[in-house]
Subunit: 333 residues, 2 copies
């Protein structure tokens, strides 16, 4: 087994080979793809794919291109989501549709999906069909998650008919965030020659961990340290985003007028923004939302570990995944 | 062998089964997909896929889902192209981004690509990899064609540096239009158990025929019969679209001032529009552009037939493809 950083380096090298070294024409189509892959973040999904493969096989070469396929697909979703969310910035740089234009962002994104599938086509015949099925279902799930996320924006909170429930929220983040992490592990396992059951248990590990991860994300936005978090604290509150925290607060409050008033209040300056954030946070504190969310996150973390327990490999190999899970749960950014 | 209409009916039934009968949630994601597939036009690509399979095998069942994958991918390109082209209408109805909104059109289109790949996942192991490679390369080619088409809009005509050439135009329409027709035939052939060479010859047949088809399309826009064509005659002229006709006219004219003036003229009413159309058509007539384009189209038609000649099947089976090619070349709409 290697360290996560070593898997990440293998991924980085393959991305360079597949995307940065080829100067494919027309550049208008491929330059935005290079651009979004350049500042690629943590390469979490492909690194997990290689790691999962390595749990079952010393040969991880066959998982390198599929790992990059997962990263390519992930970045495609960011590219198109940024158009839909009208986001101007990503990882400190202009988003593709801002740097170029919307048409470029749509078409380059489309090409990225296909390039992702192209990175799967050399998979050995004995695994190709199984991997393709997981990749397809997961990719569709991510689209479904994004659609529910957009639907939720149009729906009410609180007691109103058709208000977003905790259960629906967890379902949405599972689709939008967790399944691709889960599939990365499952696909790596399949390519490493894992049994069907082990591959599915790793999927379950990733899915539950992904939900815990997203709940931590919701928490950090309100209770994180601005310097460590690297983003403005309270951004979700200002955007009235229907996070686990807000949905839970509405569920627990018997008298919702004060929160309703805060939600409908649109700050006109920094002072008002800070006031809104502190008032909503006050309600969260009163309801012990932080503890409730941590508890929920821990539930999913434990379910993830349980799934990992069931994987039939030596305990020592599970350590790196356990370390990784612990780090995710205790992260500050 | 069956008639083209019979293949089309098989496709229609499978589309109903795969899309219209399933009421998959969330409806916001899937309703636009049903909508664009409802008025599906001629189902040309999937019908050709089944036909090509049938040239080599009595069993065409294994080609039905892949055929629908090709139709799904084709309709995805229409959906996203309509956003990029800001088109309001398609086949007499509002486009998806007009009926819903742009975000819906982007995300539903994304889901369609994945649904197309999902329709490939049950292909037998012995053909899956080969089909996937053709499908991937073709899909990427279609994106490349669309990008060149958008690039051409920004580029000049005539003697100017960087003007679009005839060769570039033919390359673009080959990517944007022909390759998917070609791939439909090749994929059908692979699934029917054709030799690599036969499958590639059918690809070449489709590719050349597709170019001939697109050149006919350019011609019909100017020289067609409005009633039979079903669209306004001269639409391309009014849009200053860089068709084969316009590129050729610029190439042949030694004195380009008159055409330059006409191109830069933006009609303000119907009378001026008709004037622009008739003046440009006059130049086309003077240069015998119709005959030149027909000649070029015929060249590709003959190349298509030559490729078909090389396919190692009994002559009688080629008849339906020859009939089909002839009909495409002599079509009025």
């Amino acid at each position: 087994m290697k360290t996560l950083a070593e898997y990440q380096q293998i991924v980085e090298n393959e991305i360079t080979k597949q995307f940065f070294d080829k100067k494919t024409e027309p550049k208008e189509l491929f330059a935005p793809i290079e651009y979004i892959l350049e500042e690629g973040g943590k390469r979490l999904r492909p690194a997990l794919c290689l790691l999962a493969c390595n749990l079952f096989s010393e040969q991880i070469e066959q998982a390198v291109k599929p790992a990059v396929a997962l990263e390519t697909f992930h970045n495609f979703t960011l590219l198109h989501d940024d158009i839909m969310d009208k986001a101007d910035m990503r990882r400190g740089r202009a988003t593709v549709h801002k740097k170029w234009n919307e048409n470029t962002a749509i078409l380059s994104g489309d090409a990225m999906v296909i390039l992702a599938y192209q990175l799967l086509e050399e998979i050995d015949n004995k695994h190709l069909s199984a991997v393709l099925k997981v990749f397809n279902q997961t990719s569709l799930d991510v689209c479904i998650g994004q659609q529910y996320d957009m639907n939720f924006e149009q729906r009410p909170l609180g007691n109103e008919l058709n208000a977003v429930t905790e259960e629906e929220y967890l379902f949405m983040i599972s689709k939008k965030t967790s399944v691709l992490i889960a599939a990365s592990l499952q696909i790596g396992a399949i390519l490493g020659g894992a049994s069907k059951q082990d591959a599915e248990n790793l999927y379950a590990f990733g899915e539950n961990l992904g939900i815990a991860f997203q709940l931590q994300d919701d928490l950090l936005d309100v209770f994180g340290n601005e310097v460590e978090f690297g983003k403005r604290i309270g951004g979700d509150i200002l955007a009235n985003k229907k996070t686990f925290l807000l949905i839970k607060a509405y569920e627990l409050l018997s008298e919702k007028t004060q929160l309703d008033t805060l939600i409908s209040f649109s700050p006109q300056n920094e002072k008002e923004a800070l006031l809104k954030i502190s008032k909503v946070t006050e309600i969260y504190n009163l309801l012990t939302i932080k503890q409730i969310t941590e508890q929920k996150s821990l539930q999913f973390y434990n379910k993830a570990l349980q799934a990992l327990e069931n994987v039939q490999i030596v305990e020592s190999k599970k350590e790196i995944l356990k370390e990784f899970a612990k780090k995710l749960l205790n992260r500050k950014k």
